[in-house]
Amino acid sequence: MRFTLNGETREAASPPMSRLLDVLREEFGLTGTKEGCGEGECGACTVLVEGEPVCSCLVPLVQVDGATVQTIEGLGDDHPLQHAFMNEVGAQCGICTPGMIMAALSLGDSPSLDEVKVALAGNLCRCTGYSAIYRAILKVKSP
């Protein structure tokens, strides 16, 4: 299996029915993507496949053969959303944060609060509540 991971072509040796989540974390050491529920309910494992947010715990490796995958590591450490999440205290324990940021990347320009809520409807946070997270995203996307 070969796919583009954060801009680089990578060859994966994991079995084809492996969860993309496990391939990212265990084969490629990209532990920024978190496992929460393992059943598509929490969004902690959200990555972008072909630019669209998906739960990497529910994607078989075979389905990303030839595809483009982006994880939180692909943003580097200096993305405006990362700074906004810190500055607005949109992160507390941090488990949901990578998934929240990856889901927020799918938003178009100048989203309304309602559009932000819809884009993040598949991501659960159990620490901060959501208002700091929405505020962080709106500061970047709808300044």
Binding site: S14, E39, V59
Partner: protein
């Protein structure tokens, strides 16, 4: 316990022809967006060990109108449905339902064919397909077969699909009258239904289908008949309460589901007047 991944055999195909040849040769569980299948795999409750990955069979991704029937390819995702002007014009309640399936991550991968194949009594799109008298189009290496959606399920999580058949599309005849859909769950996103209902109303003629109140999605035929014959809504709700067979489970109780189902039918009847 999680399923041992390395023992699983998966074959990928890019055409319906190759998919049907593979299903003819040996029994394999088709994988579309994997949003249900991988949940079972992660929890070790999936019996299958051989799979057929059909995600790249792009010929199953179309939404079209053919001789006044809406034809939705099996691999059309909820996101595709939400964005489709054809669905917006002809079956807007399917857009409402699609927006309430999981969150965007699930909507991007989950497919209508997968929802049908998974055969959950709680499938969100299924009451709609039941209410509009959809037809499931099944294809095998030996030909095509069309089964009325309301005859498709044979019991809890069981259908009349043969192992060598693939669901390729669902067809929906033109719908006249008002469409109405409601999902009752713990929250709007990411919740499996306690009760889900779809209705079509044309004068006194109503077509009503419910999910999560029986082993399969069901049409409320006796309730429909009562309404058509001029029963009061109070009497029709009583018929409904006797007609459905909900159970107590982790998401709700039988009595709550009976009460809510009655309230929903009452609202449907009032709001589509």
């Amino acid at each position: 316990m999680k399923t041992a991944i390395s023992t699983l055999d998966v074959r990928g195909v890019t055409t319906v022809r190759d998919a049907l040849a593979a299903l003819r040769d040996e029994e394999r569980t088709p994988i579309a967006g994997a949003t249900d299948l991988f949940v079972a795999l992660n929890f070790g409750t999936l019996a299958s060990r051989r799979f057929l990955d059909i995600w790249r069979v792009d010929e199953l991704r179309g939404i079209a109108v053919n001789a006044d029937a809406l034809v939705i390819g099996a691999l059309v995702t909820y996101t595709d449905l939400i964005r489709s002007p054809i669905i917006a014009a002809r079956l807007p309640m399917l857009i409402e339902a699609s927006r309430l399936v999981g969150g965007p991550q699930i909507q991007n991968r989950g497919t209508i064919g997968g929802n049908i194949a998974n055969a959950s009594p709680a499938g969100d799109s299924l009451p709609i397909l039941a209410a509009v008298d959809a037809t499931v189009v099944l294809r095998s290496a030996t030909g095509e077969r069309r089964v009325g959606f309301n005859e498709f399920y044979s019991g809890y999580r069981a259908s009349v699909r043969r192992p060598d058949e693939l669901i390729v599309a669902v067809e929906i005849p033109a719908v006249s009258g008002r469409q109405w859909f409601r999902k009752v769950g713990t929250r709007a996103a990411q919740a499996i239904s306690k009760v889900v209902i779809a209705g079509v109303r044309d004068g006194r003629a109503a077509r009503i289908a419910l999910g999560s109140v029986a082993p399969t999605v069901v049409r409320a035929r006796r309730t429909e008949e009562a309404l058509a014959n001029g029963a009061s809504i109070d009497d029709a709700v009583e018929v409904l309460r006797r007609e459905i067979v909900p159970i107590d489970d982790v998401r709700s109780t039988a009595e709550y589901r009976r009460l809510v189902s009655g309230n929903l039918v009452r609202r449907f009847w009032t709001e589509t007047r």
